[in-house]
Every structure is written in C-alpha cells, then in structure tokens.
C-alpha cells in the first residue's frame, strides 16, 4: 500500500481525536500528534487500536514509542503491511 493511500485512510481516524479547538484542516503529514495537534496522549492508545482494525495489523510496544508524527505513523503502518505480506 502506498503512502498516499495510507494517509487517506489514516486522516479520518486522527480527526476523531482532535480537541474541539483544533481544526481538521491543520492535519498534515509532518504534524506532531500530541504537540501540534494537541491530541491527549491517552488517546494515542485508541488511535493505535483504530489503526489496527482499519489496516488489520498489530502494533508492538516499541512501535508505540516511535509514534510522534503523522509521517511516523504512516511509516510504521507501511512496514507492518509489508511484513504481513511476506
């Protein structure tokens, strides 16, 4: 799966967790999830669960630690999908 397709599928997942005062249009691929988009760090856990369901993959504890920006997330998803395909 290419990065653009992953991003299109990922964006609505992230959007649900934005605080009320952050507009969905501010999401871009470089956005830091907690620092820039102001997502509550407890919700990162929920975002990962939603991603797992949407892409049928599974995150490990160390994947969670690497999760900072939207791009990080896309990279992890892409890696997981390709591992699964092998």
């Amino acid at each position: 799966m290419d990065q653009d397709t992953i991003y299109d599928k990922l964006q609505p997942i992230i959007k649900l967790y934005l605080p009320e005062d952050v507009d969905a249009t501010t999401i871009n691929r470089d956005s830091d999830l907690t620092r820039e988009l102001n997502i509550n760090s407890a919700h990162l856990v929920d975002i990962v669960l939603d991603i797992e369901d949407a892409f049928e993959i599974e995150f490990k504890n160390n994947d969670m630690e690497q999760l900072r920006t939207v791009n990080d997330t896309i990279a992890i998803i892409q890696q997981k999908i390709s591992e699964k395909g092998e």
Partner: protein, 421 residues
C-alpha cells in the same frame, strides 16, 4: 460557621421521565416507567421487568461529543451526566470557563460504575487481549467515574468525589454537600447519585428473591409499596441531581430557590439489635429520624410530608412503625407519606437522589403524588396510620416542612429535612 443552604437547581434521568418537566408531569399523573425487558427473559431471570430511563442517540449528543461516546458503555455515567448538567443549567451556573470554578464542588454517588464496560474489559483480558482495552476503561469503571466525568464537563474546582452507601447513597450525597456549604468551604455543590441498569446490576437481587416474579406480563403493576400484595421491588436505574447553594450566593445571583435544606442526620445500626447486612436496626432508624429533626431545629409535629424509602417488600410496615415511633405520631395525626418506587422501581444507588428530586418538586409545587399500586393497603400499615395519609390519587396541598429518608444495605440510614422557601 453555620450558613443557610438552599436548592437552586434540579436534574433527573428517571425511568418515567428524563428532564424535570417530563418527570414532573409523570409523577403528577402516576405514570410508571417499569417495563418488560426481553434481555432479562433471555437470561432466565425470574423478574423480567425493570426501570430504565429512555434516552435517544440525539439526546446523548446534546451532552457528549462523538469522541466521548466512542467505546462508551457506562449507563450510570450517561444518566449522571444528563441529570448533573441539567441541574447546573437549571441553576443558571455557567461552566464555560477556562479557570476551575473554585467554589463549585461535586458529590455524586454510585454503587458501581460501568458494569457493562467492565464486562467488556474482563472478556478482553480473559482472551489475552489486555492491550486492546482502550483509554477509557479506567475512567468508565472506577467508582468515582461519574464525579470525574462531571468534574471535566463543569470545571468544578472544589471537593469532587463519589460517595457510596448502597441505597442510602443519594440522600447521603445531599447531606455531604449541605455540610460542606454550611461550614463555609464551598458556595455551590452539585449533589446526586446514579445507577447503571441491566442484568449485571440486577442479577444479584433476582438471586436473593427481593424482586417480583409474578408481573412479567403486567410490569406497571409490579412494584407495590405499602400494598398487601407487595412482592418485592422492580429493579430500576437512573440518576437524580440537586444544586445546593449558600443562601448568600443564591440571593446574590438572584437565583430561583426550590427550597431550603434545614439539615439531617446519617447513622448506622451497627448490624446489631435486629440490624444486619440486609435489615435495619429499628432503633437506629428512629434515632436517625429524631437526630435529623434535632439537627434541623424542627419539631416532629411540623413535618407535613414524608418521602419514604418503602421498597415494596415485607419491611414496609416496619418502616411505617419506625416513623410513628420516631415522630410520636400515628393515625390521623400522621403526615402524608408516599413512595416513588411504585412508579420507577428501586433505582438502587440512584434511588435517594431521584426520590429527593421528587420530594423537592412536591414541596415547590405544592402537591403529594399518588402512591401507585396500593389499592389494597397492607393491613398492618392501616392499623398504624390513617389510609388517607397515603394518597392513592394526587393531592394538591401546601407543604412547608418535609422529610426524605433512605436506608441501605450495611444497616446505614439517612434522613434529610427540607423546608419551603
């Protein structure tokens, strides 16, 4: 410090009415909220009826965001938030501030929290999937879930906690809030209690046979407080909420005042002298009522109306006897008395607060609602007090001083005294 405390806001999510206008209409007309529940039948319950507040998906979205409703499965928190926010709105207290509201506290009781959510979590854990519980499994299932949710919605910056004393919880929360304000430590306290609905809350009551099994085809007749044919309480659920406020603050804000909390008392029978885990020590009940009067500075003869605990079990006659003893009043001299449980069932941890809301509405609007399903008054009760004192049709009458009592498992008692303002 001993400041006067008044009630400036009410909210309710009851099986027979969600929101004060609907609930008021229901209690004036003796409308029952008890219905047949298919899920209980499917699970082989003896008692297949219960009371559940009706809340649409649209209504939920008036209080919660989509994100808050994601993986949300705690009916008690839903009912408590609706009742609590409604009470604050009714009191005209604005909660849209960035700073915490240092003078607003919350005491919102519960028996348990989010049992359905807890069940989901237990199943996931047992399947080896603890990592998939999600971020709100703690907040929905912790006992203080309701006060924590309400705290976030309102920004309350004073005492924010959950109390728990079984079926006395709701009445107890009112006295805790009253004492906080009376002592000068807060100006406004959101007091109330909530209870989940469903088989995991009600199952244990089915097992100990305190719920009726003969009315699955006729649910509105099932809960029969003070009746000769009372066969146990219909299980209920929901939440009630009252905003208590110092008289000083209420007058400064020019707020509507529903009535005054004069005081009250809380005690325990120690599970001695006839008291047990499940039965009250009558001496303690009488003492609790007497002390409540003393604390409020009123005489027994001044009580116009009693909102009883009266659970539609064999203990109803004993409760009436205790009131007679404690007040030194009987027959025609006894105050009006009724039980809301005929209409909503026993809402467990929420019973005291929902019933207190009904009591304050009667005080404010001047009526005594009908004690439904008591056409056949229990002969033991008829020997103690005049049958007219238990309205079987709504009565319009001015009330001045009223008492609300709740008694709970663990042999705990609460009595609160309200006065017309």
């Amino acid at each position: 410090m001993n400041r006067r405390v008044v009630i400036t806001g009410l909210g309710v999510a009851a099986p027979n009415g969600v929101g004060i206008p609907n609930f008021l209409e229901a209690i004036k007309n003796g409308i029952s909220g008890i219905e047949f529940i298919q899920r209980l039948k499917d699970l082989n319950f003896s008692c297949q009826i219960g009371g559940v507040p009706k809340i649409s998906e649209e209504k939920k979205r008036e209080y919660f965001s989509e994100l808050q409703l994601k993986n949300f499965n705690s009916s008690g928190i839903l009912y408590g938030v609706i009742a609590g926010i409604d009470a604050l709105n009714d009191a005209g207290i604005s909660v849209n501030t960035n700073e915490p509201l240092w003078d607003l506290g919350i005491i919102f009781g519960a028996g348990t929290s989010g049992v359905e959510k807890f069940r989901e979590a237990i199943n996931q854990i047992d399947d080896g999937n603890v990592r998939r519980l999600g971020s709100t499994a703690v907040s929905q299932t912790m006992a203080s879930g309701i006060s924590a949710y309400l705290g976030g919605f309102t920004g309350a910056g004073n005492w924010v906690t959950t109390n728990s004393s079984a079926c006395a919880t709701g009445a107890e929360s009112i006295l805790m809030g009253y004492e906080r304000i009376s002592a000068g430590k807060a100006e406004q306290m959101l007091c109330g209690s909530t209870s989940d609905d469903g088989p995991y809350i009600w199952g244990a009551f089915d097992a100990i046979k305190v719920v009726p099994y003969k009315y699955n085809e006729d649910p509105t007749k099932a809960c029969r407080p003070m009746s000769a044919t009372a066969g146990g309480f219909a299980p209920g659920s929901g939440a009630g909420a009252l905003v208590l406020e110092s008289l000083e603050s209420a007058e400064k804000r020019g707020s509507k005042i529903y009535g005054e909390v004069l005081g009250g008392f809380v005690n325990s029978g120690g599970q001695r002298g006839g008291g047990s885990m499940t039965a009250p020590n009558s001496n303690a009940v009488q003492k609790c009522i007497s002390k409540a009067l003393e604390n409020s500075g009123v005489k027994a003869s001044q009580i116009d109306y009693i909102n009883g605990h009266l659970t539609a079990t064999a203990k109803d006659a004993l409760e009436i006897e205790n009131w007679c003893e404690a007040l030194g009043r009987k027959g025609n001299d006894f105050p009006y008395i009724n039980s809301l449980k005929g209409m909503v069932g026993h809402c467990l941890a929420a019973s005291g607060s929902i019933e207190a809301v009904s009591a304050v509405l009667q005080l404010y609007h001047g009526f005594v609602f009908s004690n439904i399903n008591c056409e056949d008054l229990h002969p033991e009760i008829a020997k103690l007090i005049a049958p007219e004192k238990i309205p079987r049709k709504m009565i319009t009458t001015e009330l001045n001083i009223i008492a609300k009592a709740s008694f709970g498992f663990g042999d705990v008692n609460v009595c609160v005294i309200f006065k017309k303002f």
